[in-house]
Amino acid sequence: MKKQTSRAVLVVVALAFILPLMIILLWSVTVSWPFPDLFPREFGLRGLAQIFEEGSRALESLYTSVKISLWVTILTLMITIPGGKALGIYDFPGKAFIKIFALAPLIISPVAIGMGIHSTFIRLGLTNTELGVVLIHIVPGIPYGIRIFTNIFELVGNQLEEQGKVLGANSFQVFFHITLPTILPGLISAGSMIFIISFSQYFLTFLIGGGSVITFPLMMVPYIQSGDRTMAASYSAVFIVVTLCGLLAIEKVLKLYYSKSSGIAGAFYTRKKVKS
């Protein structure tokens, strides 16, 4: 009986967090929804139609957004995997300091950093370019990457890599055939987190992108600020769905890639795979 109570509590509380999202879905197809109606009075597709109309700016910005976020994800992973490995496996002077330093962007808001670096970026010609936007997006993702990979390397160590080496794999082979697949779960969760952070960046994007780099949040935020709920909700709904798809895609692609890469014999023998 107690178990049932706790299950009920669990479900109710969880729903309390999930159900508010339905508001977004409802509003995105709502024309009018006055007080005290519990459900919209009139439905319409004004918002979604605008986003999905042919040649729409929204879709274009969506493409830019996905492109930038994927680059950010890849680059951030590329720098935080070795960083996390160094912190997770080796002992060396200055480790404690670097650990804290790498987490600093969590504590000091990237907004302040962005404001500070703006003039430097201008001088270097990085503003108004996708490269500049990608570069600035990397910063808030670093702490997550470093944290996750440090933990995972502390856990898995470098035993499998050593094994790979003695079996004749060179450093590249070891990295692609062994390191990456063994940290796959961390890769997915860090990748997702970095993608989310980059994909929802507004302030840093407009600051550094200066309007030449128009990402989806740049289109969405004015609507949210203007209070046009139908438009805001439509954009938000698309935003959420695309993010989810992005995350799923990251996960699926990585998993697929590594189930394939486990060797010809791996693939060859997989069909015999037995469920344990």
Partner: protein
């Protein structure tokens, strides 16, 4: 001999890319912000070095009440998020099933940007929001003004609600992973030694998950303490949260206001760093006392 050098250098080589980016973008950005806040502009050099901006920031009453408001709202919202998040994680870990669906759904608030979260909270809790409408339906009220003013209120209830909504799933996910790894073995051992439901939670789950709860707390706290979107949209007209004050100064079209914005940002960052350090310190103390105390 070469080999020895190589092994000693390896970790630094691995760290080089990430540290370079951090130094180039993060540290440089921070230093530039500090420069701007003490009156050093692009071309003017160090001539008009001044702490006047800081002095003025501290002098203003809005700053002090804003600081207090920000601290209170961040602490309360993060605290609530931690309690609910840990509770949820505990309840889920005690179930036989994993409830993958529930886990996936609970991830959704994490991917919702803060602005959208503010929008959702507004639609739910404003005086004509969904809850008020349910109130009408139940015959508890008739007019919006009878519904308690949760949004724009002085206590920052709306802001807290939004942060709780965003933060709880984050805490939940991280703590759940930890708890699940604890679950099997340690719980069996503790039950076997006579621990029951409540004991399990307070003796095993909580202490073992404390480090990750703690670091998640810091992340969330620092985030809510430093961001402006939610308090700007859901907070009271006065007092204004600190990041909102800084933001308003920053977007002020007159460039002359920028040093104030930077000064406020630096004060914000300084306070964050200090609080994180303080919390860290207290946490360590607490841990030593609590755990070693039991050994005697």
């Amino acid at each position: 001999m070469f080999g020895v050098k190589k092994t000693q250098l390896t970790p630094y080589i691995y760290l080089l890319p990430v540290i370079s980016i951090l130094l180039f973008v993060f540290t440089l950005g921070l230093v530039m912000s500090i420069f701007q806040s003490i009156g050093v502009h692009g071309d003017s050099g160090f001539e008009n070095l001044t702490v006047e901006y800081y002095r003025e920031v501290f002098r203003s009453g809005g700053f002090r009440s804003g600081l207090f408001f920000s601290l209170r709202v961040s602490l309360i919202s993060t605290g609530i998020a931690v309690i609910i998040g840990v509770g949820l994680a505990y309840l889920l870990v005690m179930q036989q099933r994993e409830w993958k669906i529930l886990q996936i759904l609970l991830k959704l608030p994490i991917i919702v940007p803060h602005l959208v979260a503010a929008f959702i909270i507004f639609t739910l809790f404003s005086q004509s929001g969904i809850l008020a409408r349910i109130g009408v339906l139940l015959g508890l009220m008739e007019h919006p003004r009878e519904f308690p003013g949760l949004i724009f209120d002085r206590q920052g209830v709306g802001v807290i609600l939004a942060y709780v909504w965003k933060g709880t799933p984050f805490i939940f996910l991280i703590v759940y992973q930890v708890l699940r790894s604890i679950h099997g073995e340690m719980v069996e051992a503790a039950r076997n030694l006579g621990a029951k439901g409540k004991d399990l939670f307070f003796e095993i789950f909580l202490p073992l998950s404390i480090p990750s709860v703690f670091s998640t707390f810091i992340i969330l706290f620092a985030f809510s303490f430093g961001s402006y979107e939610i308090p700007f949209l859901l907070g009271p007209t006065s007092p204004r949260a600190l990041p909102v004050l800084a933001y308003v100064e920053y977007i002020h079209p007159d460039w002359m206001n920028r040093p104030y914005a930077m000064a406020m940002n630096m004060v914000l960052a300084g306070i964050s760093v200090f609080l994180v350090w303080l919390y860290h310190w207290v946490f360590k103390k607490f841990r030593r006392h609590n755990w070693e105390g039991r050994s005697r």
